[in-house]
Subunit: 341 residues, 2 copies
């Protein structure tokens, strides 16, 4: 990827462009977030800070599911449904958390042809996840991208994840509603589901409920419903629905959206919606602070050099980690003191 | 608790006393670890650093299970078995991770009368967990206590946890072998088991397999064995055994110890035992460093004061967490610079 192919705009130009819902300016601002240049990232962060009063008005929906569950097809169909919704012309942005993109050579969404109709729709915006970044970094960037999309007038943000590592937890930490797509299997439906995912979900949707698969999907629905009974009620006091759908036959899509709006209405009334966002924002602040503290420490040349040796001694059991840590930190604060002067 | 009831010894006196296996000096050194005085903790840390070459020779066993499973009775019976083992006079230390002690008004092990015989045994040492500390802090202190016990010649360290919060993960991070005690229930054995605990266990032991309960325990054993089949093999390449025992009738205890020694032998041969300890030590170093960095930051007066306001602004969605974090950190490094001069 070439860096800085275009020159930067002035901060106010980004702000004005985004508030005018200009998709080209939005894209250029997102490029700042994803840039490898620290100065670009800082500019983006400042722009977002100014735009904050114009964010938060969308419904943020996380979508996950194992490979093969049909995420792209589902999102295309669901997205097209939303853009045509009640003739209100809902604007839909699709973002992705996909730390695997640098390995597989292409983001799940990099190939926009997989959502061809949606990506060509005026009211839709599809943005692949940035490559070459840590999972935490991708989360941070996706979160900032979401805020820019909200300031640019998007009503619904769909955040997709492939479920590598802790990516579901990261998505769960930035959305209002978390949707788990599942396949109807052959009997023992609960096997192979990643631990902890079911508890995160606000809705289960069994995909590909068409043709020969339809009966299996209906049976799976009953099984999942039963399994969900075993969990205690979630914090939102929301009974997690199980739905079946066919993106191919465009069936069940409306019910899915109905559940999401029901959730938003119910949790707005009982206060959960707002509290959850506040909590997410706070956690974001503390994560950002702590990640920065760690990065500053581990990237100090002296610490990098010292750690090679001391890590080995601690690993071998020759040194007490607490004592080594104290020594390293004392030296670190001495160095920091010199640097900042 | 009165502080500094006794005067401190010189560092070398602690070291010599512990290496001479003097239980009174050991207790006084552990008191330094648990002290509320920073200077006591620092002295303990230095003493442990000097003793490190004499640590690591025990087998470290974590023991967990829900309240009512009979942990104290099991540990008493198991401990007494070990101290009498093959006339080798094995020395057994029992430690506990119990962050709830300050709430319940008494540690699970605080009441030593619950392990009366074991606590009176010459070759046994029972130490309640320190009260008034965070879970991470308790973990750190338990870990250092374990090292002192090893330097004082204990062959087997049993670390008990009641399973509050992340306490099992903390114990798993400092032991060689993790034992999960379970009760035979009424049919659906898998319900009510804390998520993730089964995967941590190196052995499952069904307790109270006596009297009318014996058949239920045998049935439960079969069910748990089946459930364990669903998991992929663990990192140690160890097939997790399921055993039944009765601490009351002193049955099944020998098999439990046999499994632990088999595990130690097998994993010593395949290298897992040593690698696991290295890995645990490294993680301990990084945890200690990162906890210190965070503590230094959050305990700075300026940061405490600023956070009150900025946290609210971020929670409300009025500020971008990334920008706020940058501002706070810049000021923090300026202050740190002034302080250390």
């Amino acid at each position: 990827m070439a860096k800085n192919r275009r020159s930067r705009l002035a901060p106010q130009e980004y702000i004005d462009g985004i508030l005018a819902h200009n998709p080209f300016i939005l894209s250029r601002a997102i490029t700042l977030i994803e840039s490898q240049l620290e100065s670009d990232n800082q500019l983006a962060t400042q722009i977002i800070d100014k735009l904050m009063p114009h964010t938060g008005k969308s419904i943020r929906v996380g979508i996950t599911g194992v490979p093969g569950v049909g995420k792209s097809t589902f999102i295309e169909t669901f997205g097209l449904y939303l853009t045509a919704l009640e003739k209100q012309n809902k604007k839909v942005a699709v973002l992705a958390i996909d730390p695997s993109s640098q390995r597989s050579g292409g983001s799940i969404l990099g190939d926009k042809t997989r959502m061809e109709k949606l990506s060509n729709h005026t009211n839709a915006y599809i943005r692949p996840s940035p490559a070459r970044s840590s999972l935490g970094g991708v989360g941070q960037k996706t979160r900032e991208t979401m805020l820019l999309c909200e300031a640019a007038g998007f009503d619904i943000i769909l955040i997709e994840t492939v479920g590598v590592g802790q990516s579901e937890t990261i998505v769960k930490g930035m959305v209002d509603f978390f949707l788990l797509l599942m396949l109807a299997g052959a009997g023992d439906e609960l096997q192979g589901i990643k631990r902890g995912i079911m508890e995160m979900a606000d809705m289960l949707v069994i995909t590909k409920a068409d043709g020969e698969n339809k009966n299996a999907a209906t049976r799976a629905k009953a099984q999942y419903k039963h399994a969900l009974h075993l969990f205690p009620p979630n914090d939102a006091n929301w009974i997690v629905p199980v739905e079946i759908c066919s993106a191919l036959e465009n069936k069940g899509i409306e019910r899915i959206w109905k559940n999401i709006t029901n959730f938003a209405n119910q949790t707005s009334l009982n206060g959960f919606f707002k509290n959850n966002r506040s909590q997410q924002n706070k956690e974001w602040l503390y994560q950002t602070l702590e990640e920065s503290l760690k990065r500053d420490f581990y990237q100090t040349d002296f610490i990098k050099k010292e750690l090679l040796d001391t890590e080995r001694q601690v690993a071998n059991g020759n040194r007490n980690a607490a004592e080594v840590a104290k020594e390293l930190l004392t030296k670190y604060y001495q160095i920091t003191s010199k640097k900042t002067r």
